[in-house]
Amino acid sequence: MIIFINMQLSCQVNRRIPRLCQLIKHCVFKLLGNLDRTTDDGALWLAYRNGDNEALGVIAERYYGALRRYGVKFLVDESIVEDCIQDLFLDLWQNRERISQTPSVKFYLFKAIRHSILGHMRYQQRFATEESLDWDTSLPENFNAESLLIEQETLNGLVAQMHAHMEALPKREREALYLRYYENMSVADISGLMGVNRQSVSNFLQKGLTRIRARWFVTMVLNLFFF
């Protein structure tokens, strides 16, 4: 379910009643304390479910960047991803009493954000499915090769070739590779997240890598012959 509110309007209304907002804000008290950036996810989740707003704040801060990066990868507008994240956390806060303990907060949040982006696409185009989820393969403008102990020109060449192979992979395989190697997720979590069974995630990863490597050799051989 998605509801869009006219932002301009909300600001206008808000300007009229800031005093009231302030007043009400001061009437609500913090429930639990002693949480900081080093507290682990499970403890934070528990505290949040017990009504600690700070705890949810720490979780939000911890995962905001990762969720945003992941969301933008689906080639959805940044502002929409940000809205989705905002709504996700507001929903979490609203429904804190109905949310259960989770073995992996990160998995929970990723799954939720993926779901809400898919929901957004469904809202835009009626029959959006998993397949309508895109996956971004663009590269950073300039990556500093020296900082990775490689000559810039060598790395530029390698990355360009790799990039071409990567773009030929199916979108879901690219997503699985990202989740596995950038987000360090387990195969089990990836399968839960993408709604496919474990074996096919392993296959995705395996096939993705071998395909990249196979093409790699073809290019190398061709290069040897023609250049």
Partner: protein, 365 residues
């Protein structure tokens, strides 16, 4: 576990190595020393190393360099969250208008919900309404039972204590406990009803009929089982439901998914021959195929849609609210939830009295 560094040979070996991935991702000084040393010790592994770096950079894509600039957004999100409870550690004034406003929206919603709860408790006590098809029966064990019967010739909307809604077909009746605070939400149906159930995984919602039981956590679906008729039917609009024929054990329940339908026919006193198929038949009622998808829809039209499907009267100031539009997808929200969300979006409030809903709002600019 990571392999020892001398065992890193193919580019894939590097990819599987946590330390390697961390290095490409964060490029810390400590790791730099480690990998410099590694490349000096095993110069023959440099090509594999370089390929692996290229692979990772391509897999990371844009994320590789973007990792740092999320701080600002995270800060905003945190501010907004603390605004959501009213805790604002810095006690700054309203430099960020949105969070405060959001907060106010939710508090308005809370007031509405509390108001509704109040209305419910009043409606339940007020046995005068019984003349309109409601009966309240005392029951010492599990609180008061409420029975609602549709004796009219059209459909009738029944709002349940948990916020779910039922559209009763003519000649049907439904029975439920006033508080609905048991471990399960049980309703007993004679006849036909279309259900939109509030999601609550902790409290399953069960529709009992004389032939079958339908069990859900939150979804919308239609159940038809008139006493005295041999056939019973369940059709699903959204979500999934489990259907259990009378007398079968729970393990034999049948899962139904959106746009699926099952019919059970009683033969020799046993329910046999279940026919599953697409949900659309001549028995389908209009609400089952209504998507309630509003895109910049004038609020008057949205209300009209609700009036048609729920057989209610919605009163609102046509002139004041002429500028209001609704953009929302409300496919399986219960009736009260639909009204609440439309009111949230148009900054209006509402009061429900029987089958009349009064909306009051300042209008939209």
């Amino acid at each position: 576990m990571d392999r020892p560094d001398y065992d890193l040979n193919a580019p894939e070996d590097f990819l599987q190595n946590n330390r390697f991935r961390d290095w490409v991702k964060h490029r810390s000084l400590e790791d730099k020393i480690f990998w410099e040393d590694f490349l000096n010790r095993y110069p023959e592994k440099r090509p594999a190393y370089e390929k692996a770096v290229a692979m990772l950079l391509v897999i990371f894509g844009n994320a590789a360099e973007e990792a740092q600039d999320a701080g600002e957004g995270a800060g905003r999100l945190r501010e907004m969250l603390s605004a959501a409870t009213g805790i604002d550690p810095a006690e700054t004034d309203s430099s960020e208008p949105l969070p405060l406003w959001r907060w106010l929206r939710w508090s308005a919603a809370a007031v509405l919900v509390i108001g509704l709860g109040f209305w419910w408790s009043r409606a339940g006590r007020d046995s005068r309404i019984a003349g309109k098809g409601i009966a309240v029966i005392g029951n010492s064990a599990s609180g008061e039972w409420i029975i609602r019967e549709n004796q009219s010739q059209t459909i009738m909307l029944v709002n349940l204590p948990d916020g779910s809604s039922v559209l009763l077909s003519k000649g049907s009746s439904i029975r439920f406990v006033k508080e609905m605070n048991g471990a399960e939400r049980d309703v007993f149906l004679d006849g036909e009803g279309f259900f939109e159930v509030v999601k609550n995984p902790a409290k399953p919602f069960l529709v009992h009929t004389d032939k079958l039981t339908t069990r859900v956590l939150g979804t919308s679906f239609r159940v038809k089982s008139f006493p005295g008729q041999a056939e019973a039917e369940v059709a699903v609009k959204t979500g999934k439901v489990a259907v259990l024929a009378d007398g079968d054990d729970a393990a034999k329940s049948l899962m139904l998914y959106p746009n699926q339908r099952v019919s059970l026919i009683r033969k020799n006193d046993r329910l046999v021959s279940s026919v599953t198929g697409p949900a659309r038949t001549e028995a389908t009622i209009p609400i089952e195929i209504e998507p309630f998808n509003f895109q910049f829809t004038p609020v008057s039209e949205a209300f009209k849609t609700l009036e048609t499907h729920y057989a209610v009267k919605i009163l609102f100031d046509v002139e004041k609210m002429s500028q209001c539009t609704v953009t929302a997808s409300l496919k399986d929200e219960p009736f009260l939830e639909k009204v609440r969300l439309i009111c949230l979006a148009t900054e209006a409030s509402f009061i429900v009295d029987g089958d009349i809903v009064s909306i009051s709002g300042a209008g939209c600019p």
